[in-house]
């Protein structure tokens, strides 16, 4: 069994079986990362291009490491906005890159739908590494993977996502992934950061953090984009922190074995208290490690190696 499509554009187009397949495949690659020689020949001779229109050292490094551990050749391509020839479309850029015989293009772009547009225009497999506020599917997959390590049965878990839901691709991909696997999803944010009709995803919405944390199995804290300040989404970082920062005290409302997740980088003291980030409940560093395994599993499947 493999994946139906040549690309991974978002979680919304994956079936729950496909999600499970990616997670299972990734497990065996997690083991590779624990070995002395962290390398397998699965993608030898293949080329992976990291095409990052937005800077993101973390995500790019994770993909790069994953590709290298699979023995692929990796090219990093970060067209700064200035070096893009005016008038050149994303598709033009991508076709140039495809002519480098790229087997997989990993795309990070500020426009929603950029990965889908790219995938329609090239033969290479496209992995969406974040497109605007739309999706960040590998983040959601690595979050699921991390949850399953401690709580193997996702179905029935209560997962609370806290922060700027409206502008978060991590939130969207996680909502799609978690609801597909049968988790109960709660969203907590000031109403200015809740997008219209989000309840139609089958989630419940809270403006009170305390209420949203009640009995939660997993808490995903989103990074507050500080540039939202001054655009009337919230009055001050001080007040945001007072209302929405996850503190030890507030965490007590959740289950005793609650897992605390964060896609990074952290604003310590804004959305998450430093002592929580460093506590036993936090799995933030596991998320980073698992990111490599999940991206290995995914690239392995997309390269066709997963086909029987």
């Amino acid at each position: 069994m493999g994946l139906k499509t040549k690309d991974l554009l978002g979680v919304s187009s994956l079936t729950s079986d496909e999600i499970r397949l990616i997670l299972e495949t990734s497990e065996s690659f997690k083991e590779v990362s624990g070995r002395e020689i962290k390398k397998v020949p699965a993608l030898r001779g293949k080329t992976v291009v990291n095409l990052f229109f937005e800077p993101s050292t973390r995500t790019r490094t994770s993909f790069e490491l994953a590709a290298k551990r699979l023995s692929a050749d990796v090219i990093n391509f970060s067209p700064s906005t200035s070096s893009i020839v005016k008038g050149e479309t994303l598709l033009d850029t991508a076709r140039n890159i495809e002519s480098m015989q790229a087997d997989i293009i990993v795309l990070r772009h500020s426009s929603p739908g950029a990965a889908e547009t790219l995938a329609k225009g090239v033969r290479s497999s496209v992995i969406n590494a974040g497109d605007g506020w739309h999706e960040h599917p590998t983040q959601a997959l690595l979050d699921l993977f991390t949850i399953k390590e401690r709580k193997p049965n996702i179905e029935g878990l209560t997962v609370t996502i806290v922060g700027d839901i409206a502008h978060s691709r991590v939130a969207r991909s996680n909502i799609f992934a978690l609801t597909k696997l049968g988790a109960t999803v709660r969203l907590v944010a000031p109403p200015t950061m809740i997008p219209l009709h989000v309840d139609r995803f089958g989630v419940s919405v809270f403006s009170s953090l305390d209420a949203g944390l009640e009995g939660a199995d997993v808490i995903i804290m989103l990074r507050l984009q500080l540039e939202r300040l001054g655009r009337a989404f919230f009055p001050s970082i001080r007040e945001y922190a007072r209302l929405y920062c996850l503190t030890m005290d507030r965490m007590k409302r959740a289950k005793p074995d609650v897992m605390i997740m964060h896609p990074g980088p952290l604003n310590r003291g804004v959305e998450i208290a430093p002592e929580i980030a460093d506590s036993q409940s936090a799995v933030i560093l596991d998320q980073v490690a698992n990111g490599v395994a999940v991206r290995m599993g995914l690239m392995y499947l997309l390269s066709g190696s997963g086909q029987a």
Binding site: S111, P112, G113, W133, L196, R200
Partner: protein, 428 residues
């Protein structure tokens, strides 16, 4: 040169509806009626057109188009725009001032009119800017624009945010009895959005433009029209709220007219799901409930006219990422079949559909067009309402092909277009 259009179903909204002939002499409608007998002296150089099975109507009048010249000739020129217009049955086109330079002074208006004269084909009526450079600060020389031939004023695409400036423009325009046309959009509420704000934008992670962005400006403009008594024309209504507000304003006797574009009653925001910018326009495609409200507004005459908002863009511009691509689609050559779908659906009778493309828009801007009355300019269109065809933008006469209707199977075709007694589209 004389012309006899024989045996068609003549529909001159509110004036004539039945089998008949239309006789044209020297570019004017000379006679209309059943089995016209033509004098011997008129038989010389007489072109006879057999219109059996066709509808003969006044040429369409479009109150809202972007012809892009001067400044954006890679998208469209007045010549290609006029060719596209007449291919869509439009014999009179009002062109918006958001050219480069902006049509905010006599010289630009005169340039447009001289280019239109060279191009021939359609009648072009420029719309002047409300403010200098459409910057929303100082009034343009509206008196000069009027004297040069502008038929209305608008800052379409860059709506006047300052309500006091808008009030003054409405007051001032009354000196020339000019309609003030507003693209009703609160740019603060739109906030860089690129599609309708709703469930689809939430799912796609796309910055949204709420209905309220339009509604608050419709409400503002109606209040200002009530205050000033100016002739207000509301461009491209897209929301249920603005239909409701306009209906109420008309009931209260406020001098307001309104238009709707075919794409707004033919598509919803679901069309944005494939992230192609051919589904990106301003105002954006809305929800199914809004589409229903627009149809009700057309049916009860809250919405007076159908206008195209023809907005050509080059292929590479529309191939850009959805949020970065420009707003707008071409509209002339798809307007009639999309309007015919409303007739099929029973929203409008054929005669009322034609009215909203002819006499109603002409009335809104006081144009002596959109009629087959004896003595009027012989701008005539021959239509086959039952002709089925597939929309193929490569066949468009426009320079641009940015349409979301590619491959649509539609009914209703423009067969021939006549301007001032001369055939400008369709073989003779």
């Amino acid at each position: 040169m004389n012309m006899l259009i024989r045996g068609g179903t003549v529909i001159d909204p509110g004036q004539f509806h039945g089998l008949g002939d239309v006789f044209i002499r020297a570019g004017k409608i000379e006679a209309i009626g059943e089995h016209l007998s033509i004098a011997e002296s008129d038989m010389v150089e007489l072109t006879i057109i057999d219109a059996q099975g066709l509808v003969v109507a006044p040429g369409f009048v479009d109150l809202h188009a972007h012809l892009r010249e001067p400044g954006f000739e890679h998208k469209e020129t007045i010549e290609t725009g006029a060719s596209s217009a007449v291919a869509g049955g439009f014999t009179s086109v009002c062109c918006m001032p958001n050219t480069s330079p902006v049509n905010d002074n006599q010289a630009v208006t005169e340039f447009i009119l001289s280019r239109a004269k060279q191009a021939g084909k359609a009648n072009i009526f420029p719309i002047g800017a409300i403010t200098k450079g459409s910057e929303g600060v100082e009034l343009a020389e509206i008196g000069d624009l009027f004297a040069a031939g502008c038929v209305a004023i608008s800052d379409d695409g860059r709506p006047v945010m300052n309500s006091q400036v808008m009030r003054r423009a409405m007051e001032y325009a009354q000196a020339f009895d000019l309609p003030v046309v507003d693209h009703c959009e609160c740019l603060h509420l739109s906030d860089g959005g690129c599609m309708n704000e709703g469930f689809v934008s939430t799912e796609l992670g796309m910055p949204g433009i709420p209905n309220a962005s339009e509604d608050v400006m419709v409400a503002r403009n109606i209040a200002l029209a009530e205050l000033t008594g100016a002739r207000l024309h509301l461009a491209h209504l897209s929301t249920a709220g603005s239909v409701r507000l306009t209906r109420q304003a008309k009931a209260n006797g406020i001098p307001v007219t309104a238009e709707v574009c075919p794409h707004h009653f033919s598509l919803t925001d679901e069309a944005a799901r494939d992230f192609h910018a051919n589904a990106k326009m301003s105002p954006p495609l809305r929800s199914a409930a809004d589409v229903e409200a627009l149809k009700e507004g057309l049916a009860d005459d809250t919405i007076d006219t159908i206008a195209t908002d023809h907005a050509p863009h080059a292929i590479q511009e529309k191939q850009m990422e959805f949020d970065k691509a420009p707003f707008g689609i071409v509209g002339f050559e798809t307007a009639f079949p999309l309007t015919m779908a409303l007739v099929e659906e029973g929203v409008l009778s054929l005669e009322r559909a034609i009215e909203k493309l002819t006499s109603a828009p002409a009335r809104a801007f006081s144009l002596k067009k959109g009629t087959l009355a004896v003595g009027s300019d012989a701008d005539v269109v021959l239509l086959d309402p039952s002709h089925s065809w597939v929309i193929d933008p490569t066949q468009f006469h426009s320079k641009s092909q940015n349409t979301p209707f590619t491959g649509w199977n539609v009914k209703g075709k423009v067969i021939k277009t006549i301007v001032a007694g001369t055939i400008v589209y369709g073989s003779d």
